[in-house]
């Protein structure tokens, strides 16, 4: 939840907030997918939780996350 809404008259700051939010969302998604895999979630469960297809989430993260097997 935002405490404040970006002031649309301050375009530079508002656009910087958008960029920073995108970056935060990307980082949070990767970190959380890694945490989910660490906890034993499978790709179907992660895809459902993110509201995307299994293929999409697998393509994006299969090589990126670490699998700790055994």
């Amino acid at each position: 939840m935002f405490d404040k809404v970006p002031d649309p008259s301050n375009t530079e700051e508002a656009l910087a907030a958008v960029v920073a939010l995108r970056r935060l969302a990307d980082r949070l998604e990767l970190a959380t997918v890694q945490a989910a895999i660490d906890q034993g979630w499978n790709w179907v469960q992660i895809a459902q939780a993110l509201g995307v297809s299994k293929q999409a989430v697998h393509k994006k993260y299969a090589r990126r996350v670490s699998r700790h097997l055994g």
Partner: protein, 173 residues
């Protein structure tokens, strides 16, 4: 003279070093595709001294550019009342994988590289880190501009310093 096929080959060789490093830096940050800021830091880390020397005039190195990038994103989030725990996220971000397949980067990174190669051609020179820094000083909005602002670097002043560093690196100067 540095032009034609030889120049194109050298630019390609530089690209083959620069883009994987930019991708590694982006992945280290938990970002999928490198932005212009990652390309700038990769150029400072990997290429010649010209860019580093210019930033040293301001007491700045590549690590401080990276720290400024993080700080300005945090400031932008604070501006809308969000305080994210970057350390907690960093602890979960998996280590970078070895780049595979075609290079991927944001349009901002591609534009920065294109402009830097134009500046190298202008100088009839291989692509130097100074050209990447010089191209970065021409970006008036967005993350690069905010990084310089955060570091209290006047891009016009930096531009002058880089031009001098590049001139000094030319043969016969």
């Amino acid at each position: 003279m540095f032009s034609g096929l030889r120049g194109a080959r050298a630019d390609l060789a530089t690209m083959n070093r620069l883009f994987p490093e930019a991708e590694r830096l982006a992945h280290r940050d938990g970002i999928d595709e490198p932005g212009a800021e990652h390309l700038l830091i990769a150029a400072l880390d990997l290429l010649d001294e010209s860019g580093r020397r210019a930033l040293q005039e301001f007491g700045i190195d590549g690590n401080q550019v990276h720290e400024a990038m993080i700080a300005q994103h945090q400031e932008a989030l604070h501006g809308i009342g969000i305080g994210a725990d970057d350390n907690a996220i960093d602890a979960l971000v998996p280590p970078p994988q070895r780049p595979r397949g075609p290079y991927r980067s944001t349009p901002a990174a591609q534009a920065l590289f294109r402009r830097a190669t134009e500046l190298a051609r202008r100088d009839r020179s291989p692509l130097l880190s100074g050209h990447v820094v010089l191209a970065a000083t021409e970006v008036n909005h967005g993350t690069l501009a905010r990084i310089f602002d955060h570091l209290a670097i006047d891009p016009h002043h930096l531009k002058d310093i880089v031009e001098q560093a590049l001139a000094a690196s030319r043969p016969g100067s």
